[in-house]
Amino acid sequence: MANPKRKISRSKRDMRRANWFSSMKPSQLITCDNCGEKKLPHRACPSCGYYQGKNIFIPKNA
């Protein structure tokens, strides 16, 4: 069976994990044209229900 020749040192292991963590980025937010709240791009605004100037749905607590 194929096996690793050497134990991976703590340093190597942590370097790998640090790299993975730094690649985790927060999602990019844009401001809604209608209400000015922050929202995810290419989605209807959850706070006002508008997308591209059109009312898509009426939010529950409006």
């Binding site: 209400c35 959850p46 009312n55 898509i56 009426i58």
Partner: protein, 183 residues
């Protein structure tokens, strides 16, 4: 190899997927817009567009083809008599998919699947606007009554007062809107 294998099986057997697409298509024709997962919406698009093309052709043969898929007489009738005629001047692109965000529970991306021209929310928004107008009108009436009482005491002309009244009311309406947005 997946050469030329289009489409998404949606983790279902072939018959299960067909049944799902039938149900969703019939629901779209009945309700004009449905909320579903983004993957299902994208898969459904092709089926619904094809059905609307059948509806535009409008022959008995195409009616039978549509029934073969939908297995729902009411849906076929509404497709041929209500939905398809409204797309007379549109060559394809009868549907619209709008992303709404992720579902609570399983974090699945949810989309709104609409028939173009059958958007429901404009009606709802209009109804809401009318309600708001009525509320504003009531407030105006109340305000005028108090003003007229004041006028009777002061004996001033109503025409001169009516003009500066309007912008103040508009400001009130704007304030209300802002408050709603903040909610």
């Amino acid at each position: 190899m997946r050469h030329r294998k289009k489409g998404n099986h949606l983790s279902r057997t072939s018959s299960h997927k067909t049944a799902l697409m039938r149900n969703l298509a019939a629901q779209v024709i009945e309700h004009k817009e449905i909320k579903t997962t983004h993957a299902k919406a994208k898969e459904l698009r092709g089926y619904v567009e094809r059905l609307i093309t059948y509806g535009k052709k409008g022959t008995v043969h195409h009616r039978r083809l549509a029934f073969k898929f939908l297995q729902d007489k009411q849906a076929v009738n509404s497709l041929f008599e209500e939905v398809a005629p409204s797309f007379e001047n549109r060559n394809g692109g009868y549907t619209r998919i709008i992303k709404l965000g992720n579902r609570k529970g399983d974090n699945a991306p949810i989309s709104l699947f609409q028939l173009v021209g059958f958007e429901k929310i404009s009606d709802k928004a209009a109804a809401k606007a009318e309600k708001d107008k009525k509320k504003v009108a009531k407030k105006e009436k109340a305000a005028k009554e108090t003003e007229t009482k004041a006028q009777e005491s002061a004996a001033e002309e109503p025409a001169t007062q009516a003009e500066p009244e309007a912008p103040a009311e508009e400001k009130e309406a704007e304030k209300e809107d802002e408050e709603k947005k903040e909610d």
